[in-house]
Symmetry: C2
Subunit: 171 residues, 2 copies
């Protein structure tokens, strides 16, 4: 299983590669807790109720992938602390997408006891929206993975993708 996951993570798909880093249940919950300010092994353990060896493996993997970094304790004690890097913090959009989907579809009416709110105003956020460059809101059927045109390949038949035909100015 481990081998398969690694192989798939190395493919061209950014979703598969992201899942190679954070694509297991515990890792996403560790990131949720880190975003909420938890930093220490014991804090993650008591929040998640997870076995020490499982937590230890996940934390180590997240450090290896640059999602968390290990620092000395902020209170000067001998504890290690696990802090989100810029790469790790950016996962907040994944956790929010999960939260909003879970809130909409995974609770019976009146069952949800928490909201995810803006710290400053204590009010929920707007639902995430995917927008095209022109600002149109895109739906699930508007997505398409498209091969990038390599700059070295010019005037080849293979290179004449829809993107070129549309005069694409891809990053």
């Amino acid at each position: 299983m481990k081998g398969k996951r690694t192989n798939l993570g190395e493919k061209a798909c950014a979703i598969a590669r992201a899942l190679g880093v954070i694509g297991d249940w515990w890792s996403m919950l560790i990131i949720r807790d880190a975003l909420a300010g938890k930093r220490r092994f014991g804090e993650f353990q008591s929040s998640l109720g997870v076995a020490k060896n499982i937590l230890s493996t996940r934390l180590q993997k997240l450090v290896e992938h640059g999602v968390l970094t290990v620092t000395s304790a902020s209170d000067g004690s001998a504890y290690k602390e696990y802090v989100l890097t810029a790469k790790g913090e950016k996962l907040y959009l994944v956790t929010v997408a999960l939260w909003q989907w879970g809130e909409e579809f995974c609770f019976a009416p009146g069952e949800l006891t928490y909201d995810m709110v803006d710290k400053e105003t204590c009010k929920p956020f707007q639902p995430l929206e995917l927008r095209t460059r022109s600002g149109r809101v895109a739906g699930p059927r508007d997505l398409q993975p498209l091969p990038r045109v390599k700059s070295k390949v010019k005037h080849s038949k293979q290179g004449a993708t829809a993107r070129e035909r549309s005069g694409g100015d891809i990053r």
Copy 2:
């Protein structure tokens, strides 16, 4: 492990509950493929290179959770087809969040060979943004889970949360 996952999925956190449905590597990749138009067991299998029994279990779970539904083949043949429900389609925002994060952080410069584009214009989407109700773009440190005030509990000390103080008009 299975028991723990179920328990955690029943907690108050919408992220945990969402992960209880789609929080494993294969399920998210099945959803990615379903969003790309794949419908048949064989199509998922050849795309993912996953063992039949693993794929079968995941598809069944996604059907049980109402993410996929089973229909007769669109070509009138005897095949079953797995089609995203409205609940399943809405997961496109999770896959886009994963894609954009993976694209930004999990590839070396020039290594990425695909873009996720808008089908109509063949151009990449805008990065997802989390916005407060007033339209301010929120960052990773702006999130806070806040207990909902139960409508039955009035004038209790416990009910006097920050939300009430802010005159919150929570859904």
